[in-house]
Symmetry: C2
Subunit: 508 residues, 2 copies
C-alpha cells in the first residue's frame, strides 16, 4: 500500500457512501453481481460470515422449540391466489416457471418446451405452500403449536438490485408457526422478534429498535408486522428482520383448521418471521470504516490472523514454527463458547499488501511475528477497531492471557459505538420545518437519522415524505436501549391527534 494513500477504500464514506459500500464489498471479496439479472454470488468470505450468522441464529431458533424442515421451491399459481392481499404484494416480482424442458428451436438454439398445465412461481416467501401442508398436518389441538423453520433461497424480481441489500435471489430463514389461540400466536411473534434483537445486538453488534409497522408497511396478508430497524452510518434505516402475526388470514385461505378441546372446529392462528442475507449489507454499513470492512469477532471467519515476517529461508523456518506454536495455543482458547479462529497468512506476497488485505477483510486482530519477536517472546498486534497504524507490542504470554477478553471488548465496543451514533442521530421532530431541515438532501453522511414524529397514517403519501424518500419505520416498543414516551401530540402533516411517535427515516 502506497504511503500517500491514507485509506484502503476509495472513495471514503463521506465522499460517496453508496460507492464506498460497493468498493468495500469488492475489497473484502464478499460477493459480486452475476449475469443473471439481480442475482449475486456470495463468495467464500461472505458466505463464511453467513454461516456464522446461521449457526448463532439456528441455535436460538431450536432453543425456542422450533424444528427445521424443507418445503418445495416452486409454488403453484393457484396457491398464491388464495390470499388476496398476499398475491397483490408479490405478483409484480415473481419469477415464473412455464416449461419443463428444452429443445432445439428452428434457428438452432435452445427454446423452452414441454409447457406446464399450471405455471409455478419460484417462492418469494412460503406462507401459501406451507399453509397447504399445515392444513393436512393439523387436525387436533394436540397437533398445536406447530413450530417449523426453513433455511432456503427465495426470489423476488428486483428492478434496482444492490449487492446483499436488494437481490432478486437471496438466502434467508423463514419460520412458520400455527397456534390454537390468538394470544399464543402473538406471544410467538414477539418471542421471535426478541430472538432477532438478541441475534442483531449480541452476534452482529448491531443495535436495533424493535417496533411495530404502520398498516401501510405490513407484510402482505399480515395483521401485524413487527420489525427490528438498524441505523446505518449515513443515517438511513435498514429493516433487519421481521416477525408477522398473521391472525387467521392464511389459516382461512389455506383451510388450517383443528378440533379444539371442546370438540369445536376452529381456524388456527399463524405467524411467520425471517431474516436474510441483507444482514451482511447491514453489517458492512454498521461497522465499516474508510479502510473497509470491520467484523465483530463473533461473525469473523478468522478472528486473528498471524502475519509471519522473514527475509531468508532460515528465518522463514524459524518464524513459521513459532507462529504455528502460537496458533496452536491461541486456538485452544475460547471466546463466546467457541474455540478462537486463528489463521497464519503465509501467502507469498509483500507484507504490506498482505496486512492490508486482512484489514480490508475486517479481521479483528492482526499479529506480526518476525525474528525479533521470536527472540524476545513478544508479539506486535493491531486491532481492526483502531487506526491501522496503532500497533502494540506486548509479551506473548501477556497477549495470550488477554486474548479472549480482547475479543469480548472489541465485540462490545463495536456495539457501543454504533449505539452512540444512533442515539446521537435520533431526535424528536415537532414541526414540518424541523422535518425538512433534518432530512434535507445535501446533508451528506452527517445528515438525517431517526426522526421521532407524531404521525397520522393517512398522511403516508404526503409530499414531504415522497420528496425526501422518508418512510415510517416502526412504532418503537419498550426495550433496553429505547424507551418510548407516552405522550399525546399532533401529526406533523395533518395536525390530527396522535398518541405515540413513529420513527421516520430514509431507508434501504
Amino acid at each position: 500500500m502506497n504511503k500517500a494513500v491514507r485509506h484502503a477504500i476509495s472513495p471514503r464514506r463521506a465522499e460517496n457512501y453508496p460507492e464506498w459500500y460497493q468498493q468495500t464489498i469488492k475489497a473484502a471479496d464478499l460477493g459480486e453481481n452475476s449475469p443473471v439479472r439481480g442475482c449475486m454470488v456470495i463468495k467464500p468470505w461472505g458466505y463464511a460470515i453467513w454461516e456464522l450468522m446461521q449457526k448463532f441464529l439456528d441455535a436460538k431458533i431450536k432453543e425456542t422449540g422450533h424444528e427445521n424442515a424443507y418445503f418445495p421451491l416452486l409454488i403453484p399459481l393457484s396457491f398464491l391466489e388464495k390470499e388476496a392481499s398476499h398475491v397483490e404484494g408479490f405478483a409484480k416480482e415473481c419469477a415464473v416457471v412455464t416449461h419443463h424442458r428444452l429443445e432445439t428451436g428452428p434457428e438452432g438454439g435452445l427454446i423452452p418446451a414441454g409447457p406446464l398445465q399450471e405455471p409455478y412461481v419460484i417462492r418469494p416467501t412460503s406462507e401459501t405452500i406451507i399453509g397447504y401442508f399445515y392444513s393436512k398436518w393439523i387436525n387436533s389441538h394436540r397437533d398445536l403449536p406447530l413450530l417449523i423453520n426453513q433455511w432456503a433461497n427465495v426470489m423476488r424480481w428486483e428492478m434496482r438490485p444492490r449487492l446483499f441489500l436488494r437481490t432478486s435471489e437471496f438466502l434467508w430463514q423463514e419460520g412458520h408457526t400455527a397456534h390454537a389461540t390468538a394470544q399464543e400466536a402473538e406471544e410467538e411473534t414477539l418471542r421471535m422478534l426478541d430472538v432477532y434483537v438478541d441475534f442483531a445486538e449480541n452476534c452482529l453488534a448491531m443495535p436495533v429498535i424493535k417496533g411495530s409497522k404502520t398498516a401501510g408497511e405490513r407484510f402482505p396478508g399480515a395483521v401485524d408486522t413487527y420489525c427490528i430497524e438498524a441505523m446505518m452510518q449515513d443515517g438511513k434505516a435498514i429493516q433487519a428482520g421481521t416477525s408477522h402475526f398473521l391472525g387467521q388470514n392464511f389459516a382461512k385461505s389455506s383451510e388450517i383448521k383443528f378440533a379444539d378441546m371442546d370438540g369445536s372446529e376452529k381456524y388456527a392462528w399463524t405467524t411467520s418471521w425471517g431474516v436474510t442475507t441483507r444482514l451482511i449489507g447491514g453489517l458492512i454499513m454498521t461497522h465499516g470504516d474508510d479502510d473497509g470492512l470491520i467484523l465483530p469477532p463473533r461473525v469473523a471467519p478468522r478472528q486473528l490472523v498471524i502475519l509471519p515476517i522473514y527475509k531468508s529461508p532460515e528465518e522463514r523456518q524459524e518464524v513459521l514454527a513459532y507462529c504455528r506454536c502460537l496458533q496452536a495455543s491461541w486456538q485452544e482458547l475460547r471466546f463466546a463458547d467457541e474455540k478462537i479462529r486463528v489463521a497464519i497468512d503465509d501467502r507469498d506476497i509483500r507484507g504490506g499488501e498482505k496486512a492490508w488485505s486482512q484489514v480490508k477483510k475486517g479481521v479483528p486482530l492482526r499479529v506480526e511475528i518476525g525474528p525479533k519477536e521470536v527472540r524476545d517472546h513478544k508479539i506486535c498486534y493491531a486491532r481492526r477497531d483502531q487506526p491501522s497504524s496503532a500497533k502494540q507490542f506486548v509479551a506473548s504470554s501477556e497477549f495470550t492471557a488477554q486474548l479472549p477478553q480482547l475479543l469480548a471488548d472489541m465485540q462490545q465496543g463495536l456495539f457501543a459505538k454504533a449505539l452512540r451514533e444512533r442515539q446521537a442521530r435520533t431526535r424528536e421532530i415537532n414541526s414540518l420545518a424541523e422535518f425538512e431541515a433534518f432530512f434535507k438532501e445535501d446533508a451528506g453522511l452527517a445528515g438525517g437519522g431517526f426522526a421521532l414524529c407524531h404521525f397520522d397514517e393517512s398522511a403516508s403519501d404526503h409530499e414531504l415524505l415522497k420528496t425526501y424518500k422518508v418512510s415510517p419505520r416502526c412504532y418503537p416498543l419498550e426495550q433496553a436501549t429505547f424507551t418510548p414516551r407516552a405522550e399525546v401530540g399532533s401529526c406533523l402533516f395533518t395536525g390530527k391527534t396522535s398518541t405515540r411517535r413513529v420513527i421516520m427515516a430514509k431507508s434501504y
Copy 2:
C-alpha cells in the same frame, strides 16, 4: 399396537419392498410428496437426519481445503449451450423460467407477464454458471487450485418421482475445483471420492464400492466419472455419490484460462463432485427392517429416548424427575466427538404407541423408566438393532458406563451387517445363463445383487440388460472392502476380450 400385528410396517419387506419403503417413510415421518410435480417436503425428522449428514460431510470438505460459497439458482440458456454433451444430458429435464411477474388475465386468474429476453433454467447442476465466474476469478497459476463447494437445491424434472430417491427438486452439495495440471485434478477427483467413502461408511454405516463409470454412464461433459455404489436390501444398487474429472472440457467452453509459471496461457483442469438427499433413501433401504427405519447412531437426531412410565400424578413427578437426572448425566457423555443426544418422550399417549413411534423413527436406544426402576436404580433398555421384544435390565450406573461404547457397537454392527449382506450377494458371473438366473424377475427380495462380469462396453444396449433393467455400475477400484482381481476374460455378451470385470446390477 395390536399384539396380533408382528411388525410395525405393512407390507413387510419380503412382500413388497417398494411399498415397504414408502410406508417406512410415512411411519418415520421423514417426508412426503407435494402438489408440485415431483417435489417433496422434507419433514423435521428427515431434515434433522440431513443436517447431521451435512455436518459430518461439511467438516470433511473443509478439512480437505475447500470453502463454501453460493452461486445463483438461475442459469441463462446460453450458458448451458456452451458444452454440447452437457446440454444434451440435461435439456430434457430443465425447469424453465420465462417471465418475471404475474398479472390478472382476461378470465380473472393470474397469468405470467413480463417475458424475459433470455429464459433461464433452474440449475440442474452448476458447472456452467460457476465456470463463468471461474473464468473471471482465475488469471494466474497463483489463483489455483480454486476449491469451492456449495450446499444448494437443484432441479431435474422427473417423470417417475420417488421420495428421496428421485425428486424433481433435491438438496445436495456440489464441489467445483480448478487446477493447473491434469494430475492435480485427477488427485482431487479421487480425494473427494475417498471423502465420500469415509462419509458413507463411517457416518451412514453404508458399505460402498468405489469405482469408475463406463463411458455410457458418465456425467454429461466429464472425461471420467467415479462413483460410490451401495447395495440395498433388494440387491439393487444405489449410486450414492459421484466425483467427476472434467478434463479441460468445461474450462474450454467457459474459457477458464491462466498464465502458467512460464508465462504461457493454459486452460485449467476442473472437477466436480456431489452427494444428495437421495442418501436418505439409501439409508432407509440399507438398514431398515420390518418395523421401519433403523438409524445408525451418528445420523440419529435422537440417539436415546427415555420413555417414562407412571400411573398417578405423584408417580409422574417422581419418574420424570429421575428421567431428567438421567438425561442430564447421559447427555454429558460423548459419542463420535459429540454430546450424546438424549430426549424424554413425555407425550400424553399410550405407552405402547409411544414406544412404537420411536421404533418406527429408528431411534437407536429406548430406555423405559417406571417407579420400580427409580426405586432399584435400574433401567430397562432396548436396542433398535435387536428385536423390539429383547429388553435388557441393568443397573443404571452400569448402563451409563457402557453407553458410548454401546452406540459405537451399534454403529459398527450396522455397517458389518450390511457389508456381510453385500458380500453374500456379490458374485462373479461367467455365462449368459448364470446372468439370466442371477437377475431373474421373480426372485423377490432374495434375488439378484452385484454381478461381476467381463463386459465389452459396446454391448450396453444388449437385450438381456434391457430385459432385466440391469446396468453397469462401475469398474471397482482397490479398496478396504473389495479387491478387484487382475484377470483376462471375455465379454458375456459379445465374447470380446476384457481385462477387468464391471459390477452389473439393477439400480435405483
